[in-house]
């Protein structure tokens, strides 16, 4: 110990010169960090800063960008599509939570009890996750054919239910979108839960049985508390993910019918890339920053609240 503390004392009193930096392996450190610094700098940190800057500018490609203060944000509040998009996104997040949060848990609990061939179950559950989302969405678009001959409508007719409009009606369009999104994503949630379930120490169950707990008791007093960290994390991750949903409503219904599946991200895309002549990058970045701020706030509040739970 004395040698290292002596060395520390020596290094503290020794002057740090460029030579000591080189001798200490400085250039190698920098070289190894270089790919990350360049890539992140150009494609992550820079754009994040630029996003904030652009949200207070008006950009077109003929003249230099001009500073416009909060005009972009004000324009957002005046645009009738913004509240629609916010409402739709919240609706999607809610439905996705209802279908995609508890059901995978139940499935995972059942799967964790499987004695043999658990791998088969896992593979079946995860299979839709590896299918490219474009393929999934375009495939389900066929299923959702609203004519009586459509695939789902044919299945419904076997059990005596009439043909449904699926994505052809504002009332059923969002649930249809959620169904596709859940099909494509629920499998990964199941696997995450399963991994957490199988890592629950069996002694805890033994101890609970000694205390006389039945099946439900074990689930309530052992399984769920053990799963709490995973449950909390997947909840917030799901919220953050569903708030940014784009592909499913974009390809399935293009935001229709009558803007009933228009989400915030689709609106950002429209502002930035679908205006006929003028690109409205200012409004697009302003809206994306508002969304980011909301999610940040939500996460902070969420972690505060759940910290209170965790300590119980």
């Amino acid at each position: 110990m004395t040698t290292s503390s002596a060395a520390v004392r020596v290094s503290r009193t020794r002057r740090r010169t460029p030579l000591t930096w080189i001798r200490g392996g400085g250039p190698a450190n920098l070289l190894f960090l270089l790919p990350m610094i360049v890539i992140f700098g150009v494609f992550s940190w820079g754009p994040i800063v630029e996003s904030v800057v652009m949200s207070v500018q008006h950009t077109n490609f003929v003249t230099a960008p001009t500073f416009v203060g909060f005009d972009n944000f004000l324009a957002l509040f005046r645009d009738p599509l913004v509240p629609i998009a916010v409402r739709n996104t919240a609706y999607f997040a809610l439905l996705a939570l209802i279908f995609g949060y508890p059901i995978p848990l139940i499935v995972a609990v059942l799967m964790s009890e499987v004695r043999r061939a658990r791998g088969l179950f896992s593979a079946l559950a995860y299979l839709p996750v590896v299918v490219p989302p474009v393929v999934s969405v375009l495939l389900w678009q066929r299923f959702y054919d609203a004519s009586p001959r459509g695939l789902f409508n044919t299945v419904l007719s076997w059990v005596g239910i009439g043909p449904q409009p699926w994505i052809q009606s504002a009332a059923t369009s969002m649930p249809s979108v959620v169904l596709v999104a859940t099909w494509a994503a629920a499998g990964s949630t199941v696997i995450i839960y399963l991994a957490a379930l199988t890592s629950v120490p069996p002694e805890l169950y033994d101890a609970a049985e000694v205390d006389g707990a039945g099946l439900w008791g074990k689930i309530w007093h052992v399984t769920l508390p053990q799963l709490r960290p995973v449950l909390l994390i997947t909840f917030i991750l799901q919220i953050i993910g569903t708030a940014q949903v784009f592909l499913e409503p974009f390809l399935l219904t293009f935001g229709g019918p009558a803007n009933s599946t228009l989400t915030i991200l689709q609106l950002i895309f429209r502002y930035a890339f679908q205006n006929s002549i003028g690109l409205d990058y200012g409004k697009a970045t302003a809206l994306s920053i508002l969304l980011a701020l909301f999610l940040a706030l939500f996460s902070v509040v969420y972690f505060r609240l759940t910290k209170a739970w965790s300590t119980n």
Partner: protein, 459 residues
């Protein structure tokens, strides 16, 4: 608010952007000129067109290069959509020659995003023969010319003759009033279980189609008086048009069950026999053959029924334009190509025949209905030259071709057209998917929304 670093970054981006636009420094746009040769990229066909269509086009390219050895031409697939244009403009990857619809050419010209080709066009022998009102769409407010209009169309009623026959209707007698449209549609949908009639609903085409249906009843979407434009989407004729659709959808059930159709989606819907009639541009047959496998023998084109005072037919077209990043040599070459490919077949017999021959050899339609760019006499002459090559049965398109010149041709609404169409898309979709859609409220909403945009311009 801006840190020096960010200000520098913004300056740098702007400088590079500005320099890029000025010097045409881009990845795949106009490439360099060497040994006095000029290389230009040109918009060819929409993505997904058949291999035969591309073969026909490439034949024409070869003919042009032979006649102009100093010019190298590189075709690229191109389809005008707002986002593609904006993105490519920003990236500097626009083809040298591409096309924009009438609705956008003037705003682009005024914004300086197209090349001024006034002097190059003046050198053409027929520069004064253009239909003056048509030429206006390609000019900016000062009267400088930024493109050459081509392919003007008017709305017509495309219908499937084979399905008409199958349903017991006479294919030579398409419906001539909206009531007849309704009853024919009901007959077809009852007998064949498909959509007897259908309209565009998305990708801004819903609003485009609704505007046409308004014009055909005598209404207008925008009214300009004394320099001030007022949006009048809630006029009686639009309401009537929507109520008509509502009845067909919910009472007759003759509109099928897919209400999310943009331009190419609807063409496919028609081409695969899932609808028997739809209002469309009169030039759509080319796309139908190139992309959707339609046989001209089964295709019919009638007139859109017009009823009431002040009624007319919506017209539009395309403008062949040159990218603002083109150098003077590239501009001259570009105008030469536009002249060769788009114009010559209307003015010169051998060019017309060559064009027809290349289309025929690659199984493309010849004789798709057109409106005149110069005047009717010139159009008739040019059609006479290729008469023996016409493979679209004349009687199929006779109802339109014979009647259109008696119709009042009305241009699309002038201000914020695409935003107006986009807002109207939702209205059409709502009426077709929600039994209880409140038509008046929806249209008033459109008024407010678009009027705000127009008023903001004036500030």
């Amino acid at each position: 608010m801006k840190s020096p670093r960010t200000a520098a970054a913004v300056l740098a981006v702007t400088a590079i952007a500005g320099a890029g636009l000025l010097t045409g420094c881009s990845a795949s746009g106009d490439s360099g000129n060497t040994n006095g040769t000029v290389a230009i990229t040109i918009a060819s066909l929409v993505p997904g067109s058949s291999a035969d269509a591309f073969k026909a086009f490439n034949l024409r390219v070869k003919e042009f290069e032979k006649a102009n050895p100093k010019v190298i031409v590189k075709p690229v697939e191109y389809q005008w959509t707002g986002p593609t244009f904006s993105a490519q403009l920003a990236a500097g990857t626009l083809p040298t020659v591409f096309n924009v619809p009438f609705t956008d050419s003037q705003s682009l010209a005024n914004a300086g995003q197209l090349a001024d080709i006034t002097s190059d066009v003046k050198k053409l022998p027929y520069a004064n023969k253009f239909n003056k009102s048509l030429l206006q769409v390609a000019e900016n407010d000062k009267g400088d010319l930024f493109g050459i209009p081509y392919g003007p169309y008017a709305y017509g009623l495309s219908y499937n003759r084979a399905l008409f026959t199958k349903a017991g209707l006479d294919p030579n007698k398409p419906p001539t009033s909206w009531d007849e449209v309704r009853s024919d549609a009901k007959t077809i949908s009852d007998k064949l279980g498909i959509a007897g009639f259908m309209v565009f609903t998305s990708g801004n085409t819903g609003g485009w189609g609704l505007t046409e249906q308004t014009y055909s009843r005598g209404g207008r979407m925008e009214v300009t008086e004394g320099g001030k434009t007022t949006v009048t989407a809630d006029n009686d004729q639009t309401v009537a048009a929507l109520k008509f659709l509502q009845t067909m959808r919910w009472t007759d059930n003759s509109l099928g069950s897919n209400f999310n159709l943009d331009w190419s989606g609807m063409n496919q819907y028609f081409g695969s026999g899932q609808t028997a009639m739809y209002p469309s541009g009169s030039d759509v047959l080319t796309a139908l053959v190139q992309s959707d496998g339609v046989d001209p023998k089964d295709y019919g084109l009638g007139l859109i029924p017009t009823e009431g005072d002040n009624s007319g037919v919506l017209s539009g077209g395309n403008v062949a334009v040159v990218s603002a990043a083109a150098s003077p040599a590239e501009k001259a070459a570009a105008v030469k190509w536009i002249d060769f490919y788009y114009m010559q077949k209307l003015l010169d017999k051998s060019a017309a025949v060559a064009d027809a021959k290349s289309l025929i050899s690659n199984k493309q339609p010849v004789g798709v209905p057109q409106l005149p760019i110069f005047d009717k006499a010139q159009l008739d002459t040019s059609l006479g030259w290729i008469d023996s090559y016409i493979n679209v049965p004349k009687e199929n398109v006779a109802p339109f071709q014979n009647g259109i010149f008696d119709q009042k041709i009305i241009a699309e609404p002038a201000k914020h057209t695409q935003e107006l169409y986009a807002a109207l898309d939702s209205v059409v979709q709502a009426v077709l998917t929600d039994k209880n859609a409140d038509i008046d409220a929806l249209l008033k909403g459109v008024n407010t929304q678009i009027q705000a945009l127009i008023d903001a311009d004036a500030k």
